[in-house]
Amino acid sequence: MHLEINNLSKQFDTRQGPVVALDDINMHVETGEFVCVVGASGSGKSTLLRLVAGLDMPTAGEITVDGQVVTGPGSDRGMIFQSYTLYPWMTVQKNVEFGLKLQGVGPRERREMASYYLDVVGLTKFARSLPKQLSGGMKQRVAIARTLASRPKIMLMDEPFGALDVQTKETMQQFMLDLWNRTGVSILMITHDVDEAVFLSQRIYVLTAHPGTIQREVFVDLPSDRTYTIRRDRTFQDYREGIMDLLRGKAAPALVS
């Protein structure tokens, strides 16, 4: 898998005139990478992800996955939204099967795949539950299982834990990291939470706001099997503070450059 974004710009026409949301974005994600994009509100980071998903079209530039230009949404780029997007009338099992059903996979194979990924996210016990019976964190795990079951080349995540309370969020971050280590899925995640980005990713793109441009690419040189204790590490804190300074518009310390 090779995701490449070249000279990407996005302009919105509003009543007050055109607004440049993203300007000349260049970035890439490789197989098995966990990449985060951080930016303050107004940096166009959600727009960026929607463009990669094919839900919006760029004004200029192009996005390619394995050399193929993105022209619309597709199951090779599975997306996790911040709002829980489970189908409320389907059981958890049916939700996870649904992507496969849309793609024409037969019932038996669907059931097996869904059961496998429900096990991966630890929700086998809830297969027969309705989404409304689940907590926010569990709903998001179902959404992740549903996306993984469709075997995407890359999983796109738009502030997936933004609506969760602090404790659940931390649990979900650990879960996400373990899941990534186990499955090797490529992930491009958008977040405003710098701590989350440093904890999860191997590389971070830092966006400026108005218009959104890439300010810096940060390589996070931390072990991949991280646990919450790593937050106490000096290196971790340096990354976090360095990126925070970038977002504040101050000169960044040497480590981050």
Binding site: A53, L55, F81, Y87, G99, L102, Q103
Partner: protein, 306 residues
């Protein structure tokens, strides 16, 4: 003469007890107070009866629901038994029950009820069949909405009964004009309400479907449509009341049978007890329709119920 008063008195006592039990203090005139007793706290006073947007205890709810039927019934009974009004104008519950029995043994009750129900069923089913696809299409596609919303918006404000003369001219005196009236009077409201429900399908749910590999067609039939099923049932529950109105209107104007026709005939012979009987039957059947659609909702859309 004694019985109804006793009933009312008991109802009154009940009501009083209900109020007291659930924390509604009877109002007493405020007396000026010069004491230095602690002043009332500044918080909101607790209440059970007046809680906003909240449940009340089950026994209280049941008691109030019983009162809702029992009080008007008792009032009717009392007024009728006091001989204040000529019973040609206000028949007593007993006389109405007798009229009901008479209509039953004469076979009119069953025949008229069946005729009215048949008209409502056919007219409303046709309206439902037409309104589901059109309503969903209008909600889902801005193009279809632009094409149809103006005309639907205008026509729905033309009162359906105003079409009766035309319907009689076009369709004659049989079942067709009555069914057509019910169809016309409900189809546009069904369409607009279903259209509105579709507009509330979360966009993220559709976008999720696309990123799972779904096509527009699949999103329309496998996501939008099941999502609005509860709204469709609710729409039908509300609009079937209109069709129940219209069938009587149609029968009042021109019909050989039906509950509306029975009311017109009863008026000719000054049989107010039969009019009352028919009104009660109309109310009970309408209420039963409402309940059965609620039951359908409960049975098929558990996911959408609290």
């Amino acid at each position: 003469m004694q019985a109804p008063i006793a009933v009312l008195w008991m109802m009154g006592a009940d009501a009083f007890q209900v109020c007291c039990t659930f924390g509604l203090t009877p109002v007493t005139p405020a007396s000026p107070s010069f004491s230095t007793a602690p002043t009332a706290s500044q918080g909101m006073k607790p209440s059970v009866f007046w809680r906003l947007a909240d449940d009340i205890p089950k026994p209280m709810s049941t008691a109030l629901m019983v009162l809702s039927i029992a009080v008007p019934f008792a009032l009717w009974w009392i007024v009728a038994s006091l001989d204040l009004v000529n019973d040609k104008f206000l028949p007593s519950p007993f006389q109405v029950a007798q009229a009901l029995g008479r209509l039953w043994t004469d076979g009119f009750l069953l025949g008229d009820t069946a005729a009215s129900i048949m008209r409502v069923t056919v007219g409303f089913l046709l309206a439902a069949l037409v309104s589901i696809p059109i309503g969903i299409a209008m909600g889902a596609f801005a193009s279809v909405r632009s094409l149809l919303e103006p005309i639907v918006g205008v026509v729905r404000y033309m009162p359906a009964p105003a079409f009766i003369p035309l319907l009689l001219i076009y369709l004659g005196l049989g079942e067709a004009p009555k069914i057509a009236l019910i169809f016309m009077g409900t189809v546009f409201f069904n369409i607009l309400m279903i259209m509105d429900a579709v507009k509330f399908v979360p966009k993220a749910l559709l976008e999720t479907t696309y990123t799972l590999g779904g096509q527009r067609r699949q999103a329309l039939f496998q996501v939008i449509t099941p999502y609005v099923v509860p709204n469709i049932i609710d729409t039908f529950r509300i609009n079937i009341a209109t069709s129940w109105n219209l069938v009587v209107v149609a029968e009042l104007v021109a019909a050989e049978n039906g509950l509306g026709k029975r009311i017109v005939l009863a008026q000719k012979f000054f049989n107010t007890d039969e009019i009352f009987a028919c009104l009660i039957i109309l109310g009970v059947i309408g209420f039963a329709l409402d309940l059965s659609l609620r039951g359908l909702m409960k049975a098929t859309c558990k996911w959408a119920m609290d």
